[in-house]
């Protein structure tokens, strides 16, 4: 079989529910026989994408191609795809055999053919002798197997799986992961698998598609995604990581945590701010401080079974997470080494907040759904469209919502070694980014105020 043939191609797909944009211009190619995982936090749009492929949700724009044929307007019952639903959706009025045989009976196959295929499929999911059982008498894991058999018995071109293992307990989930992988290898059917569990995605997939806020963040093999995250969201979402602010001094030389390191990245330019990711297992820790590139003090230590997890404070005041087989006493001075190939440098998505607004008078600007006091602007008439820049660390976050000019909630929080980078989603739907040393939790309501002197206002080029 030609394994480079494209089975599913998604072009410029967008979908909104009301005002909320669920999917924003998704483009994706899935090869024949590939095990692809759509991975992202809940509400990122991954399930909607799967439902659009299955035909249960109509996209606002864009197309879905199956073997090069546009199936966007094809109703689900005509699509040669089958789905394993999150809650299985097994028919409660039918027994195991009739559930699995449902699709074949619809196709009008002969009884003995149906019988043969259903029994073969039940044998594959190790549920022989369960033919006459009621669905309600099965355990979660058994129902899961019936759901998989019911979908696969139709020999679909593509199998869609919507968080199929999320209802199972940990042990059974691990077992089913192995079984799913075996089934995939045996049948060679294209699997599109939706999950929010990054470990599951890394274990099962040929290709992982990381989705957040309706956009594809990164597509790649599990190793690519883990070792070369393209932005801080992916780095934070996949596995444990130290994400730090850094500066690209020149090609192959980067500065972070107050020290300069050799690295393998180039092409960023000179003295460009970047995000740096170092995985906790990639920091080498030595007892002799002189043997390290820089020194640190061990702050805490937790035994994790295979390794120890230690938090250290570097000589420049950054906190790093380190995983190592050797244990170091909290309080002890250690030397740290980071090898060039273990440093992943990422372009910063933004270096400061940029808002568009409008002057209401010479000392007030309207933006983000509020009116803000600013320094007197002589050359900007009221009503003028302006661009406002605010540094991350100048955004003041307060508990008391009445003290803020606008309010919002903590949407995404990233720990950067010595401060938190918080993405605040304002009530009006704007993103405001702030750096703070205070601890906030996701979902906390935050009042936002900015000092007049910290608003950098310039006439907008737009209009």
């Amino acid at each position: 079989m030609d394994n480079n043939r494209t089975a599913i191609e998604i072009c410029n797909l967008s979908k909104s529910f009301g005002d909320k944009k669920i999917l924003d211009n998704i483009n994706l190619k899935i090869r024949q026989g590939e095990f692809v995982t759509l991975l992202g936090p809940s509400g990122c749009g991954k399930t909607t994408l799967l439902r659009i492929i299955g035909g249960f949700t109509e996209p606002d724009s864009g197309t879905v191609l199956l073997d090069g044929r546009d199936i966007s307007s094809m109703p689900p019952y005509r699509r040669p795809l089958n789905t394993v639903f999150q809650r299985y959706a097994l028919f409660p009025h039918l027994d195991v055999f009739d559930n699995v045989a449902f699709g074949l009976k619809i196709q009008g196959l002969k009884d003995d053919e149906i019988d043969k295929r259903v029994r073969k499929m039940l044998k594959m999911v190790t549920l022989s002798d369960y033919e006459d059982r009621d669905i309600s008498s099965l355990s979660g894991g058994q129902q899961q197997r019936v759901a998989i058999a019911r979908a696969l018995v139709n020999y679909p071109k593509v199998l869609l799986l919507d968080e199929p293992l999320s209802a199972l307990d940990l042990k059974m989930r691990k077992d089913m992961q192995i079984e799913l992988k075996e089934i995939h290898d045996k049948l060679g059917i294209t699997f599109i698998y939706v999950t929010h569990d990054q470990e599951e995605a890394l274990t099962l997939s040929d290709t992982v598609v990381v989705i957040n806020e309706g956009r594809i963040q990164q597509t790649g093999t599990p190793a690519d995604i883990y070792n070369e995250p393209q932005n801080s969201f992916v780095a934070d979402f996949i596995g444990e990581s130290n994400i730090l602010n850094g500066k690209m001094i020149c090609d192959r030389r980067v500065e972070f945590a107050g020290h300069a390191f050799d690295c393998v990245d180039e092409g960023f330019g000179e003295n460009v701010p970047v995000d740096v990711v170092v995985r906790p297992e990639d920091i080498y820790i030595v007892g002799q401080t002189s043997a390290g590139q820089f020194t640190a003090t061990v702050k805490s230590r937790t035994f994790k079974g295979v390794h120890y997890e230690m938090f250290v404070e570097t000589d420049t005041g950054n906190e790093l997470m380190i995983q190592d087989y050797n244990s170091f006493e909290p309080g002890s001075e250690v030397g740290l080494i980071i090898k060039p190939q273990d440093i992943q440098v990422m372009k910063k998505e933004r270096v400061c907040n940029t808002f568009s607004g409008r002057m209401t008078d010479s000392t007030h600007v309207e933006m983000l759904g509020g009116v803000w006091e600013c320094l007197p602007q002589q050359d900007l008439e009221p009503g003028a469209a302006v661009r406002v820049e605010v540094d991350f660390n100048k955004v003041d976050m307060v508990d008391n919502l009445d003290d803020g000019t606008v309010t919002g909630e903590a949407h995404f929080i990233l720990y950067k070694g010595d401060h938190y980078h918080i993405d605040i989603l304002s009530d009006e739907g704007w993103h405001i980014y702030a750096d703070t040393t205070y601890v906030w939790d996701k979902g906390d309501l935050i009042g936002i105020s900015i000092l007049p002197k910290d608003l950098r206002i310039s006439r907008s080029d737009e209009n």
Binding site: G54, G55, F56, P75, P76, Y77, R78, L81, N82, T83, F85, R87, A89, L90, F91, P92, H93, F102, G103, I106, Q107, D134, S136, R150, A151, N154
Partner: protein, 259 residues
């Protein structure tokens, strides 16, 4: 002293004894006694030789079955449309269908009879069936609507996913899953229609007598024992219907709504 929890049920037990158990025993005693109070099967035997009463019972069953069938035929599609979010976005429509149930059935029936009269329909079997169907339709719609509303949409999606056209989704999934509601509806329409009397009088100007009418006439003319025997037979018929329907529903296993 602490009152035992069982004690709370005493008022209800007393109520049940006075208004349910005692009357039932009385019906039984009267049915199996002659005018002097002696034990006899004569009343029951009289019914089986009373061709008039037998044919009225047959007619009653016939009318009840037809009414139930008509209610089901009209009620199921209505319930399906009401439960379908594509067609029905608000709860207003369902309230409009339930609204007539808030009114006294006799007043409603009188109004219906007047309406038929005004439209010039001859009172008879036609007006009886139409009026009774109108009267009992909400009792059919509501339980079916309830079950359909609670039916998980994912079953329909799963069926469509497996290649079932919308019609096949309905026939193979929606219909079987809504059977508990259908059974509830059938019981709630069949049981009151088989024993009705006043409604048939109003709707047919007393032209058609149903079994309930005969019981009422017997009791009104102080023929307590025969009236009681007929009531007992009616009870047995209703009991059998309820028993069969409940049994059927148990074997369905899928928990529907028993309104």
């Amino acid at each position: 002293m602490k009152i035992k929890r069982n004690a709370w049920s005493i008022p209800y037990i007393v109520f049940l004894i006075i208004f349910v158990v005692f009357p039932l025993i009385l019906v039984g005693i009267y049915a199996l006694a002659d005018a002097d109070g002696n034990f006899t099967f004569a009343n029951v035997a009289r019914f089986f030789s009373d061709s008039d009463a037998l044919s009225t019972l047959a007619l009653s069953l016939d009318i009840a079955i037809e009414t139930t069938a008509l209610c089901l035929l009209i009620g199921y599609p209505v319930a399906w449309i009401l439960a379908n979010r594509e067609f029905n976005h608000s709860g207003v429509t369902i309230v409009l269908f339930i609204l007539p149930m808030w009114m006294n059935a006799l007043i409603r029936t009188l109004a219906t009879a007047q309406l038929f009269n005004m439209l010039g329909f001859t009172p008879g079997r036609g007006t009886l069936l139409a009026g009774m169907t109108y009267d009992f339709l909400p009792f059919m719609i509501y339980p079916i609507y309830n079950v359909l509303l609670k039916t998980d949409q994912s079953y329909c999606e799963a069926a469509a996913d497996l290649g079932a056209s919308p019609f096949k989704v309905f026939r193979k999934v929606v219909l079987p899953l809504s059977m508990p509601g259908v059974l509830s509806g059938v019981m709630m329409v069949f049981m009151p229609t088989v024993s009705t009397f006043a409604i048939s009088e109003f709707l047919t100007n007393n032209k058609i007598k149903l079994f309930g009418t005969i019981i009422q006439e017997n009791i009104n003319s102080s023929m307590w024992n025969y009236g009681a025997a007929l009531s007992l037979l009616m009870l047995i018929i209703i009991g059998i219907t309820a028993f069969v329907a409940t049994d059927e529903r148990d074997t369905e296993e899928q928990g529907g709504s028993a309104v």
